[in-house]
Symmetry: C2
């Protein structure tokens, strides 16, 4: 039975072109990039070229780009730096953030270092910008605003220019979790004045175990991981050279083909949405799929029945990969904090289908056919 | 000109067998290990098997083994946990530690969280165990003792059973930086009662960007990197599946052939030592090469002359890879803190030659021949 992979918000298959770019560093080019001999300089050069590629795409300066072990480490770095180095004593976030954010800020609040506020969320899952401004205006402490560009479970997109503008106006530090949008949407850091953004290669057909943190050149922070002088003293540890090269290549490919691929993926998503409405009675969609939403994510609410309870299990039996929510929490099998925060109806079974350039309408047909049989 | 790689303490070439084990996870097996469908469970299973392999080799329980992005992150995790979660207010370390340790503990001291003491170092670079006991005995705070098993620059080996015994006796937390010894020396965690040890795959012919932290089951700590529930809620972030599989394979191979390979490498090291004494007047060796020392590392002190100043540069021109000290700091081109701490003679040029299973006596002959010409 052919496998259908509709879980691209969790992770994506590695692009063969990306793997090809990584390959030389697994065998002949293995020198430590920090070594002073030419053999080490060769890998160092590859890292610096990767940095330039990423910087150019995001319209940032290479000195503002730092490679990390992934989106989660990047988020942890930004949030901790805002509190420990930039004087933030009040964190404003949302209940819909990824656990990398939520668990970091909750821990900081627990240790008494910061006060936490959560911005009000509208019925469609979008953040209430008036409430955000109110929170910023009324705060008597230096604030960190940490919000995601796009929600990984329901796909809602936040207007980050507006968030950045409000932060600038109220002298707040602004961290945007762009893990679901870097490589999928154009991001111009000369237009959006934020302090931090992050990315993870494996969300854009790059390798797992590598990510990126943008740190605006106007701020100075202490490293989160202390040690050697790698990454210009900002992230210690021998560089994951294959990962870094793979990350830059994946981003390069994603941006090169963004227009064409986003149209294709949007078509697949909309086709699935329409097909579900036609074929599954009572189905509806979480978030704001008609409004500002990731073209890669469709969060479907199936009416709760005996059969829908076993939906993910039955999809799995049919070799269809989809998830209940974020992969990072699905191991725990707890209810999604995102769906709980926005849903008026607890009587639903949520399945997130998420798409990539490799998916097709034919796959959608097969999945909807199976869903009809399962439900 | 054939390249001679004598910098294996910085990083090692990837073993082709290790790469072979990693390969399937770059293409067909890309599922997110946290996903609940069978396709994700497949990669999760690979991670859990890797954990079992590592645990068995170290004689630990699989639940005590956590995969990280490398030795530096592991060290940061252990040290911060000792202070933030285990109540340590006094850190006892040595001036010869890797920067991953030194910069972490210095930062904690700077923020006022801990008091720092450095154990006295003997002339041969070995730590003074009597001073260590004195420091522990006289401390009126809970202590963290953080010492390296083997020094990455001069090769000195610390008696970690003795350190662990002293820590146990004085109720201190014990973190041993085993980055240079895991896979090179047998480590039995049922015999040596420490709280943390670490490892980095790329030091034992495994991939860069992945490491391990052992956390003794008798202690409970909070994650250093917060977020998803990966690594049983102890290290958030989508798992570097290729890296983890590669790490376990590299360790497996290292241990399988440890006896035979260590004999071979020891022979190469001793051959180089003797050959240098015979051929380079005034040469001597840093640390304790006749005593307890890494068989992989030979730290050579050449008499300072006009020519020896350019030694590393000239070795590089001759396609010989060696380093002045730790790779992690060589980018900074600062004098080695290790050599400064032990050397009675500032008038020396230090070169660290470090060996692996792939090196030969023929390579030593070529290098010594070149050195004779250079000096």
């Amino acid at each position: 039975m052919q496998r259908i992979y509709f879980d691209n918000a969790a992770t994506t298959p590695l692009d063969p072109e990306v793997f090809k770019a990584m390959l030389p560093f697994f065998n002949e080019k293995f020198g430590n990039p920090s070594s002073i001999y030419s053999y080490g300089r060769e890998t160092r050069m590859a890292i610096e070229n990767a940095r330039k590629t990423v910087a150019k795409i995001l319209n940032a300066h290479p000195s503002e780009i730092f490679f990390t072990s992934g989106g989660t480490e990047s988020t942890n770095t930004a949030i901790n730096a805002a509190v420990n180095d930039l004087g933030c004593k009040h964190i404003i976030s949302s209940p819909l953030e990824h656990h990398a954010t939520l668990h970091s800020i909750e821990y900081l609040a627990k240790t008494g270092k910061v006060k936490l506020s959560y911005v009000h969320i509208l019925a469609n899952g979008q953040i209430d910008y008036n409430d955000l401004e109110k929170l910023l205006k009324e705060s008597d402490e230096k604030c960190l605003v940490t919000l995601m560009h796009a929600n990984n479970e329901i796909g809602n997109i936040t207007d980050i220019e507006r968030v950045a503008y409000l932060c600038e106006k109220h002298d707040a530090i602004c961290n945007i979790d762009t893990v679901q949008t870097v490589g999928h949407f154009p991001i111009d850091l000369q237009k959006v004045h934020v302090h931090f953004i992050n990315a993870a290669a494996h969300k854009i057909h790059g390798p797992k175990g590598v990510g990126m943190l943008y740190i605006n050149k106007n701020i100075k922070i202490h490293p989160f991981i202390n040690g050697g002088s790698q990454e210009r003293n900002m992230r210690a540890g021998t560089e994951n050279i294959y990962g870094i090269v793979g990350f830059a290549k994946a981003l390069e490919i994603a941006v090169e083909n963004m227009e064409e691929e986003s149209l294709h993926i949007k078509e697949v998503k909309n086709y699935m949405k329409e097909s579900l409405v036609k074929n599954i009675p009572g189905v509806h969609f979480n978030g704001d799929p008609e409004g500002e939403s990731l073209y890669t994510v469709l969060s479907v609410a199936f009416p709760k029945t005996e059969k829908s309870d076993m939906l993910l299990f039955n999809l799995d039996i049919n070799n269809i990969c989809a998830s209940g929510g974020s992969a990072c929490t699905s191991g725990a099998e707890a209810a999604s904090h995102v769906i709980s925060a926005i849903s008026k109806n607890p009587d639903q079974t949520t399945v997130r289908f998420s798409f990539s350039k490799y998916n097709t309408k034919e796959e959608v047909d097969l999945v909807v056919e199976k869903l009809k049989k399962i439900i």
